[in-house]
């Protein structure tokens, strides 16, 4: 048995920067911009058309347009390989958007909302994680695939699965299954949660908390929140960032569990090594988000420049939403097989129900200030 060292290649190998040639990114990034702009203007055109024709139709948000246009391209004509490197940068734009969104929060709000969400996350994670591990066992999935699904569903989707891959020595096939299942769930949540939230009559803040707690992948969480409303999107990003910040602790827990069974590398003894492990997995862009929020809290930004940063953040999110659609290949997800998907669907239903219960309990029974 060996002791885990923090190796650079083990930390991040999500498919964001897949080429060393800057020019390879240009076609895909231009496609992200094109699809994003088309989504943005489709909302305006749809509204104008409905008004002109006197139709009574719901206002379809740019978020949905961008995702649907991207989905249609990938799943009909397909995405030519020239576009792949640029299109896969959508996670990069997401993180830039999150950091700049810090300008719209003062640190006091982050501490309050982050603290509230932390309690909810811990309860949600414990209940949902346990149910997913039991469901995985019942459907005959490997223990490590069950762990990956629990990590992905309870924390941070793909990033958490990738972070856990090396630490629990999971097989590549299990990692592929878990990632496909989490992405499939994200796509489902995107289309199901916003109408459900409206039907239940959730406030923007309640829905933001629900999306932040229930949707697994940060890009899909952001899109789900913004599909409900701008304010819900902001709250969803904050809650999800709190969830992301816990990656290191959860992965460490699973790594210790599997190491104790001799099926993963041992973590070096001592608090210092464990702290280094947690820091290694910590999503550093959360620090950027806090730094920008500190700048806004210190009033170093004029009103106009705060609005400017919020707009840059929205443009970055627009590229992310286009990327979510363009990167969702339904055929690829279908090839995953039904069993991991069934466990993942159980996971989504459990996480969505438990987190909705927690949000309603804390908001409407305990009055923790989520209703506004």
């Amino acid at each position: 048995m060996t002791t885990t060292r923090i190796e650079p290649e083990e930390t991040i190998d999500e498919p964001t920067f897949t080429s060393r040639q800057p020019l390879h990114y240009v076609p895909g990034i231009l496609l992200l911009i094109g699809v994003g702009l088309l989504g943005k203007y489709a909302q305006i055109w749809w509204k104008a058309l409905a008004k002109h024709e006197h139709w009574t139709v719901p206002d379809i948000e740019y978020v949905l347009w961008a995702i649907v246009i991207g989905l249609l391209i990938t799943n009909t004509i397909g995405l030519h390989r020239t576009f792949h490197p640029g299109v896969q940068t959508y996670d990069f734009w997401l993180k830039i958007g999150i950091v700049l969104l810090g300008a719209r929060f003062v640190l006091g709000d982050i501490a309050k909302l982050g603290g509230l969400s932390l309690i909810q996350i811990l309860v949600d994670m414990t209940i949902a994680g346990t149910i997913i591990i039991l469901a995985a066992r019942a459907f005959g999935l490997s223990g490590k695939l069950g762990s990956l699904l629990a990590i992905g569903t309870s924390i941070c989707g793909v990033s958490a699965i990738v972070a856990a891959k090396g630490a629990i020595r999971a097989r590549n096939s299990d990692v592929g299954y878990a990632i496909a299942a989490i992405l499939a769930l994200g796509a489902v949540a995107l289309f199901v949660l916003p109408p459900l939230g409206h039907a239940i009559g959730l406030t923007d803040r309640e829905f933001g908390f629900w999306a932040g707690l229930a949707v697994d992948n940060t890009a899909e969480t952001t899109a789900t929140g913004y599909l409900f409303s701008d304010h819900a999107g902001k709250i969803a990003v904050l809650v999800k960032s709190t969830r992301n910040a816990l990656i290191g602790f959860v992965v460490l827990g699973f790594a210790l569990y599997w190491a104790a069974r001799g099926q993963a590398d041992e973590i070096a003894p001592g608090a210092k090594a464990k702290a280094a492990f947690i820091w290694d997995k910590f999503p550093k862009f959360v620090l950027g988000f806090l730094a920008v929020s500190a700048i806004a809290t210190a009033h170093w930004l004029s009103k106009g420049q705060t609005a400017n940063l919020a707009n840059v953040s929205k443009w970055a999110f627009l590229l992310t939403f286009a990327g979510v659609g363009l990167n969702t290949d339904i055929r690829h997800i279908a090839r995953t097989g039904w069993r991991p998907l069934v466990v993942a669907v159980i996971g989504l239903v459990v996480v969505a129900s438990v987190s909705l219960g927690i949000v309603l309990l804390t908001s409407r029974v305990l009055h923790w200030g989520l209703g506004g």
Binding site: Q21, K95, I96, L100, K284, N311, V312
Partner: protein, 52 residues
């Protein structure tokens, strides 16, 4: 997914070393750095008006 990525051409060992150093910085830090530059421009009040 990586199988579809265009292959590198014309890479030299020196260039590879530089790219290796750049590549060792994680995506999170790159995103934070770029967003930090944009935020710094806003603090200096030189970020042009960005419409939405």
């Amino acid at each position: 997914m990586n199988k579809d990525v265009p292959k590198d051409s014309g890479a030299t060992p020196q260039r590879d070393g530089r790219l290796g150093q750049i590549g060792s910085v994680s995506l999170d830090w790159w995103a934070t750095l770029l967003a930090g530059v944009i935020a710094a421009l806003a603090v200096a009040d030189v970020l042009p008006k960005i419409p939405w």
